[in-house]
Symmetry: C2
Subunit: 334 residues, 2 copies
């Protein structure tokens, strides 16, 4: 194969087919993808969750992951946040002419590894190539399909006053890892992206308590924006305690140095849950048994007061409103 | 709202939500999308078709359509080419910082109109914004879900010797329309994109003959590449007659002027079918009753000879091999 991606790799002609046969099929082949038809045909029934996300992270390789891993886990997590068991993914690449073929191969290898780890199949895909300068290396879209088990009814609109708000671990790792790599910053405590698939932990949580009200992964916009979304969608207030929100040393140092608030920095392997208070402790214990939930903590509760607002009791004992992210903190971190 | 898209519209924070509330929800709202959860949850059962495509056409507005219309019809058609009834779409936008908000609004309006026309619902979505110069205005990914009716079994691998090869109308219109707009060319017979949803015609065709073997839309790579794909996947030869392949006057003139072969120019509202010969005439007549199949013609047949190759009898009576597209004829036409 050529050393670099050419426009002709997106032509639908001979080089497009070569790309499929030499890169995609050897790495991703399965009974669906290998048919090379316009759609994959899947046997499904019940409540089917369907989601999509595009990934434009820069750089495409960063400590703890890369755009391929991110694209798989991100969509797996979006399915999991609806309570669904993730099953199938589509993967669509937009490549910039000149992308080194070796980098493409590494990314597709990551897609394969991440999909295997998460137990999902890439069943359909697409590749486009745009002229040099019309995209930045590589963008990936994944859409995903999963099945929601009977009795599960998770939605951002379901939080109720009294619910405990659980966070699965430290915040800000992904955003700081990507930014450090991009800007060539080095911290004495290196920060790695937390990107990880959360669906197995979610399945365990739902086994302990099928009535979990809300699940959401605080990606872009960080924990602060996610808490605000839940407060607005559910029409409740949310009160959290700063001292209960775990932040790693590296992230804390980087944020202090750079003037960022970790509440607004992106995560790719964390979730927030609103759980009826009487089940919260058991759910928390279950989460802590999972490697992706080892640092889980109850950080606050949903309340009837100040609906649609998030209030934080700070380390100093003051109470402040935590707003949704205004402006753009760190562009292109996912 | 701002006049232009800012990086902060992709932040996951306040401006991202404003974009959803002021542009996407007013135009696209339905019971799934309006929940604003991480996934849409759909009731489905049976054989579910799943497909994805990214659209990077340049310019984003062209005679006969725009990138929004293309993104809906393209994925609707990919579902239809598997014999599926299209039901649900995801829409994911990658916007370049500075995109005029008015253009975004026009494109999303087109998405709405096209989805309504096709009878599909946009149930989930995503927006990303990349820095100026890191993408070219707007890229759209759509993934789609449909249901394949019982008894239908369409695949590019199903063509059999003796099958009639039917083409639904003139070729090359989309590619020439986009290229003319991009290069500022004017032809005495203006060429408009043929972009159109084909699923209703496909449903009618399958009603006449449930045993249709192959369906494929000759998009990138043109008719020549599609015929080659079917020949290779099915392990048959395909023999077509040049005089039977309809080409519009404008496309013919443009191709002569520019040195293009219409066999390799993209289409966005055409299909090729391989149909058992005994049903071909009835299928053809049904297609001709549809506005998108008025120009349908039997252009050749699948044969046992020269498997995996496409041979064309030319207007002059010679026989030549029609290869898959080599290189890139017209980049970024879809």
């Amino acid at each position: 194969m050529q050393n670099r991606i050419l426009l002709a790799h997106g032509s639908g002609g001979r080089l497009s087919h070569e790309l499929v046969e030499k890169v995609f099929l050897p790495l991703l082949h399965n009974e669906f993808l290998s048919r090379l038809d316009d759609s994959a045909v899947l046997d499904l029934s019940g409540r089917v969750a369907f989601t999509t996300d595009s990934y434009v992270v820069n750089p495409i390789f960063f400590p703890g992951g890369d755009i391929g891993r991110l694209a798989v886990y991100g969509t797996v997590n979006d399915l999991a946040m609806s309570g669904a068991r993730p099953l199938y993914l589509s993967v669509a690449l937009i490549m910039e002419e000149g992308l080194p073929a070796e980098e493409l191969h590494r990314v597709v290898t990551s897609v394969r590894d991440a999909a295997e780890e998460a137990g999902v199949k890439v069943v359909t895909g697409d590749t486009k190539v745009v002229n040099r300068g019309s995209a930045d290396q590589l963008f990936i879209n994944t859409a995903g399909i999963g099945v929601v088990p009977e009795g599960v009814n998770v939605s951002g609109a379901n939080a109720r006053p009294g619910d405990s708000i659980i966070l699965s671990g430290t915040i800000g790792d992904h955003g700081i890892a990507v930014m450090s790599q991009r800007e060539g910053l080095e911290f004495s405590t290196p920060v790695k992206s937390d990107c990880a698939p959360l669906h197995r932990m979610v399945a365990d949580m739902l086994e302990v308590c099928a009535e979990i009200h809300c699940l959401r992964d605080p990606t872009r916009g960080g924990l602060a924006s996610t808490l605000n979304e839940l407060a607005v969608q559910s029409g409740v207030g949310i009160a959290v305690e700063e001292e209960k929100i775990p932040v790693g040393d590296g992230v804390r140092a980087a944020c202090e140095l750079l003037g960022f608030d970790p509440l607004y920095v992106a995560n790719e392997g964390k979730l927030v849950a609103a759980v009826p208070e009487e089940h919260a402790q058991r759910v928390l214990e279950k989460m802590r048994q999972d490697p992706h939930g080892a640092g889980a903590a109850i950080i606050g509760e949903a309340i009837a007061e100040h609906p649609r607002r998030v209030i934080m009791r700070t380390l100093l004992g003051a109470r402040r409103v935590v707003d949704m992210l205004v402006g753009e903190l760190l562009p292109r971190i996912c």
